[in-house]
């Protein structure tokens, strides 16, 4: 059987945005875990990703997968100065909410809630969307992420000034730009190559 055909997985679709742990099913055949080449395994960076159908699907083109993964890791996990991790994740969740990626929003809302002192705004974002009433600092972060996410891109000097006014330094603003930009990459891959699956919910 050719692998060059679309898959139509049986899933339980989530009914809306959620912080629950949901799964993701591919619409194209991933590389079989037992058939990953050394180059493909190397491109996964984290060996645990060999069990993920998403990363094994992307492993069909290992060169871009590897560079993409290493970009992702530095934008979100390099904690030397810059924007606190929780707010990088909040920007990722806001971008995902605005683009409409239920799966990405679920993962990064959980991360944001874990790292932030006050996780209540994460639930508000998911429930009400990017126009929700938020505290001034979070509002400025969401406004900047949304402006970057629009096409054509609407991020301007006024966003930089608003971010400074709520206490972000230049390195934090650069981190925010990268976090929102990266989720414009991630959301589109997740949305277009498969779908979320809320069966076996493990909250």
């Amino acid at each position: 059987m050719s692998i060059d055909q679309a898959l139509h997985p049986t899933v339980v679709s989530p009914t809306g945005f959620t912080q629950d742990r949901i799964g993701w099913q591919p619409w194209l055949e991933p590389v079989d875990e037992s058939e990953l080449s050394p180059t493909q395994r190397d491109a996964l960076i984290d060996a645990g990703r060999a069990t993920s159908p998403y990363f094994r699907l992307l492993a069909h083109d290992p060169a871009i997968l590897k560079a993409r993964t290493l970009t992702d890791v530095d934008i979100f996990y390099n904690l030397q100065a810059g924007l606190p991790r929780g707010e990088r994740e909040f920007a990722a969740a806001a971008t995902s909410r605005f683009n409409g990626c239920i799966f990405c929003a679920s993962v990064h809302a959980r991360f944001a809630a874990h790292f932030l002192d006050d996780p209540a705004e994460v639930a508000t974002l998911l429930e009400e969307g990017v126009d929700a009433t938020l505290t001034p600092r979070t509002r400025a972060i969401v406004d900047a992420a949304v402006a970057l996410t629009r096409t054509p891109i609407e991020f301007r000097a006024t966003h930089v000034r608003s971010l400074r006014a709520v206490g972000l330094d230049d390195g934090a603003i650069a981190d925010l730009i990268h976090a929102a930009a990266f989720f414009n990459w991630a959301n589109r891959l997740m949305l277009s190559l498969g779908e979320p699956d809320a069966s076996n919910l493990s909250g």
Binding site: H8, W185, N187, S192
Partner: protein, 198 residues
């Protein structure tokens, strides 16, 4: 002039505010460049030709209205094909450019009060004849990814498969379009930030 493509297209010069900030995330900087190299410079792994890659990149840069990136990708496209083809792709994308993101949420969700229907790109038969079905379908898919990613479906992938794209080639095409969604935003954002740091 920096050999870093984001520095070039954002107009960042050595020692400028945003250029210096990028070095605090050296791996992100280097791997953003490595991503560009993997998609647009390195030997092809999946059978997507340089002309196909640069044509889609030109199309996506023009859909975003990102002028510096459009100049870059369209001049590279002109070098692998012709100025006429590069101009044709730019005109097609400029005519198809709208404002996003929009789209309907999936049928099973209760998010339909947020549905925002909008245009779906269908290239006309004469254009499909000129470009070929493979590239035409890639452009229609790129338009979906750029403006209404929430309306993605297995049927959109079937259209690509039917037009001759293999599974591995669809992965490459998807990475290429979605990498540009990242790269163009980093360029735009850092350019705005750099202007405030001067």
């Amino acid at each position: 002039m920096s050999t870093d493509i984001i520095d070039q297209l954002a107009g960042l010069t050595a020692g400028s505010g945003a250029e210096v900030l990028r070095h605090q995330r050296e791996q992100a900087r280097a791997q953003s460049q490595a991503s560009y190299d993997a998609l647009f410079t390195a030997p092809d792994l999946t059978g997507v030709s340089p002309t196909e890659r640069l044509a889609v990149a030109t199309f996506v840069a023009a859909l975003h209205g990102s002028s510096a990136a459009l100049t870059h990708y369209s001049s590279r496209l002109a070098a692998t094909s012709s100025v006429e083809i590069a101009d044709h792709v730019t005109l097609l994308a400029t005519a198809a450019a709208v404002a996003g993101p929009y789209g309907r949420f999936p049928a099973g969700t209760d998010l339909h009060d947020e549905d925002a229907p909008g245009p779906v790109l269908h290239l006309d038969p004469a254009t499909v004849t000129t470009l070929g079905r493979r590239l035409s379908t890639a452009f229609e898919h790129a338009h979906l990814l750029v403006f209404r990613p929430r309306e993605s479906s297995p049927e959109a992938l079937v259209a690509l498969l039917d037009a001759g794209w293999s599974t591995a080639q669809i992965v490459t095409l998807s990475q290429l379009v979605t990498f540009l969604a990242f790269q163009l935003r980093v360029i735009h954002g850092l350019s705005a930030l750099d202007g405030e740091l001067a």
